[in-house]
Symmetry: C2
Amino acid sequence: MSDQVVSPRPGAQVQLEMAEQPEVLARIVGRRTELHELVRSRLPSRLRGISLIARGSSDNVAVHARYLLELATGLPVSLIAPSIITRYHHTPDSRDHLVVALSQSGKTPEIVDVARRLADGGGMVVAVTNDDDSPLAAAATVTLAVGTGRELAVPATKTVTGQLALVTLLAEAVGSSIAEYTGGESAWAALPDAAAQTLADERLLAEAVAVLQPRGTAIHLARGLTYCAALEGALKSKETSRRVHEGFSSADFLHGPLTVASDEVAVVAYGARGPVLADVAETARAAAELGSPVIGVGAPEVWNGVPGAIGLAVPQTLGEALAVIPLVIRGQQLAIATTLALGLDPDRPAGLNKVTATH
Amino acid sequence: MSDQVVSPRPGAQVQLEMAEQPEVLARIVGRRTELHELVRSRLPSRLRGISLIARGSSDNVAVHARYLLELATGLPVSLIAPSIITRYHHTPDSRDHLVVALSQSGKTPEIVDVARRLADGGGMVVAVTNDDDSPLAAAATVTLAVGTGRELAVPATKTVTGQLALVTLLAEAVGSSIAEYTGGESAWAALPDAAAQTLADERLLAEAVAVLQPRGTAIHLARGLTYCAALEGALKSKETSRRVHEGFSSADFLHGPLTVASDEVAVVAYGARGPVLADVAETARAAAELGSPVIGVGAPEVWNGVPGAIGLAVPQTLGEALAVIPLVIRGQQLAIATTLALGLDPDRPAGLNKVTATH
């Protein structure tokens, strides 16, 4: 692509963009009240339903949005299968519905197409995007923009954590208080610093890479309000290291896939203090018993009690719903460091473009 | 487990159960009108929403149900994240909602728990299960039972294809005609025979195993009304061959994960004639261009034009929504044959039980 920077060294571009995350998050935290009001001013007076539409890493953000919006509103939230609309030509009734359309570029044709149709049908479309001058933003009722400079590396990093902060404040604006899950005002204030501390702390990263580098595959595990970190960690590793890393809810992993655990398959388990932490830790232990080396990310309870596990801590200043952001940063670090150890350039994965034109 | 049959040879039990599929399907086809009436007699007069709850291979069936119920009703369908209810203790309003709870054993505690709570809240709970004498059936308003003998092999086969037939007739009962997608009466009549023909046809299976056996991982691709086949094919291979096989919507695979395609990663692409066939074929071609060996399953359009692809055909007598059943059977064949080639016993995957007790 003509506007892609040619890195001076492999991974320089993505590392530069990862380092911008504390600043991007601080800007979003600073606009939080303003954005709450913007969303509330356009909400249908009687909200009947909520749908999310996304692809790629935005889809992982949508999974996080889904949990938070359900907890905030009590309404079931549906992740739209775009093909129903774009291929089977059925458009659901969107009157009095909130439709959250997520796309970093704001340019994926099927996301823009679906957002337009649901807006035409009367839905309130909220675009969660980096670029507020995009076709998606033009189709939306309200745009929540990450508002960082252009993201040039193919693997999305700062736009993903920015979107995670935006969907969290969206859930705050739409429903009843979710302070119990975010950690409230003090956690929001601590968020940029928690991201900066996580980025600066590379202790044990080399040890974790020594586990991932020689293995052809890995499983990433989490659940509930941290599930998104497992999905995004697996996706980032796939996109950059070109290995099959798969993300699972720890409960789904127990239902069959657990049998893949062995010395050949590493497990990365993500957890923050909250109602699902014990489930993730228990699943990591079960995988370790079958021989998998375990990398624990987040709260020490994830890896304490897992024999031989490597623990990558994050600051314990955030509620579970915001803690997912430092967990995602750890997944980025693991992906980029492993990719470099493999002698590949994470800025330029084979066969990928920044905007994928699915319809 | 005390009631597990000790196979005379590796895979004997699962192969016996796979062979029962035409008979199981014929029995369901024979009860179709009766089951339509049973469902319709208990439906809320004003259906406000639809939710699905499942884990493991039942979750793949739920993905199929989701597409069909959306196409039949125009309502958004939500796949419930059980942890919202069991761990975060939020129970959504279920009045005038259809809740479809899928569990082969009918015994997974969290599925039974969630079904009970939503039934108590006024939801119409339909259990899609093998065992109509189970805790899940007891909690349900209506039970659609696969009604085959006990499934003893750990990898579920006949209960999965039976559930697929049941959710398809459920969608017929709940909404407007989906004959356009199933192929209508003639396709239902042809279903048992299409399953039998697929099971009997092992041409090129050894060639496909020769692709999968030496590779540590594979990607399974489909989209829309065949998406379930990719998810279930990947799950079955994971559960039996203990390798990381991941299932993708072809559109999601294009959004990043495509970069894993290489000679080391096999691609299994599933397709039936319909609106998404060209998307799947195009994605298989893109993976082949990056070096992946491709196994095409279903309609010849999936592999025609993909250099070097191996094609595993199925009878072309079914609409896309029913064609998923022979596609799933092909995924079972690939998983079992590859597992045997690896010297493992598909009847007894390491670390797994038949009923997984997640909460």
